[in-house]
Amino acid sequence: MELVLFYISSAVALFATIFALTRTNAAHALIYLIVSLLAVAVIFFLLGAPFAAALEIVIYAGAIMVLFVFVIMMLNLGEEGEERERQRMHPAVWIGPSLLSAILLIEMILMLSQLDDRHTGALITAKQVGLTLFGPYVLAVEIASMLLLAGLVGAYHVGRRFRLSEPDNSSPSSTEGDS
């Protein structure tokens, strides 16, 4: 039963990802990408990592992809965007990436063949994840938090309101800055 579910969700993930790459309409591509992320969450759940599955849904599918859709809405590309995308989908563009990912695929198959068949099936609970994150991997957590802080400061700088000139000698061209 679990094996069948695993293969179904893997197939869904694969096809959704392929469609996400090949759609010319950005909104459609994003929907396929969300489906692919959800399928990966199901795979995590089946492999005994429910916490990772939940985070995959909450963070990737539920938060990050929402921001992607947000950007798509802001750009409002429409027909000409699709036309441009269709031109970019020229077959020659696919050669480089396909070659590189083929190399990766061969590598992965070699690695998998050397691995002994050890799907433990043990359930990894949220507590275990927490203990590992703040035990042996605490340095990585700290570094990630610093990276996030840098992103936050950068966003603050970009979004900050600043005046180009004093209000008393402002020329019409400088009014764009002080909103």
Binding site: F51, A53, A54, V58, G62, A63, V69, F70, N76, A126
Partner: protein, 322 residues
Amino acid sequence: MSETMTIIFAISVMLAAVGGAAVLTWFERRLLGIWQDRYGPNRLGPGGILQVVADMLKLLTKHDWVPPFADRWVFIFAPTAIVVAMLLGFAVVPFGPGLHIIDVNIGLLFFIGMTSLAVYSVLLGGLASNNKYALLGGLRSAAQMVSYEVFMGLSLMGVVMLSGSFSMQDIVESQRDGWYCVSQSLGLFVFTIAAIAESHRLPFDLPEAEHELTAGFHTEYSGMKFAMFMLGEYLGLILISCMITTLFFGGWLAPFGATWLPPIVWFSLKTFIIICFFVLLRAAIPRPRYDQLMSLGWKVMLPLTLVNLVVTGAVALWMQGA
């Protein structure tokens, strides 16, 4: 419960939720009417309850139209997403001791995940409509929901810290010696506000603010597809009331040791009172401006949540040491 029992129970929960949402459309209007010194729909049937049937007939017989300029498949898919996500959220609600569809050890995270997926319905509806009002409504909802989602999740972490589990049944069990509405009152406050914003109900219904955006993201929707959006919204209201009951008001536990009523009745009663409270909020509070909403979120709610988190963590550690 055996597998067939679980399936039967799941179907009955789904039917109850959808039926409850339908009745709620009438009940909310009646209750609003009472609070606003008017009658509300009271013509059809006893107390006007057949209004639900009349509304349903009207929506079902309307032309199920897709505008020619809309992105057809996304337009049709959008309203179903919110209903499916909200119905899935009911899977982790504990209605009584042992009376639940699933009791996974990530129950609470599952609920948060489902509410965050419900955002897509509004977003894609706004995007697919190909209409400026709808697009603006969708944009607003994206910003509003992503912001309020952050501390909706964080405000629940205090409960998780005190109960030591993400499982909903464990959270209920751990409230035997005191409901979390006392020790986590700050969390309750933040969660309630975030939950209203998340389900985009009045007073936080800026994605569909009719005085400035016609109807926001569902301007182009009519008939059954519009009904699906409404169904999703009311399902969300019921789900969030269930969650507040479970997380902060002891779930199916009887108050003051009054166990002469079965647990599921207590659960329903508490949920009902919270739904009434949400309707009262809608009747009493005006809609804030969009920038007020956002600054309230980031400048008041987020710091409050973080303070709650730090204090709860410190107290939990101190209790462990003592």
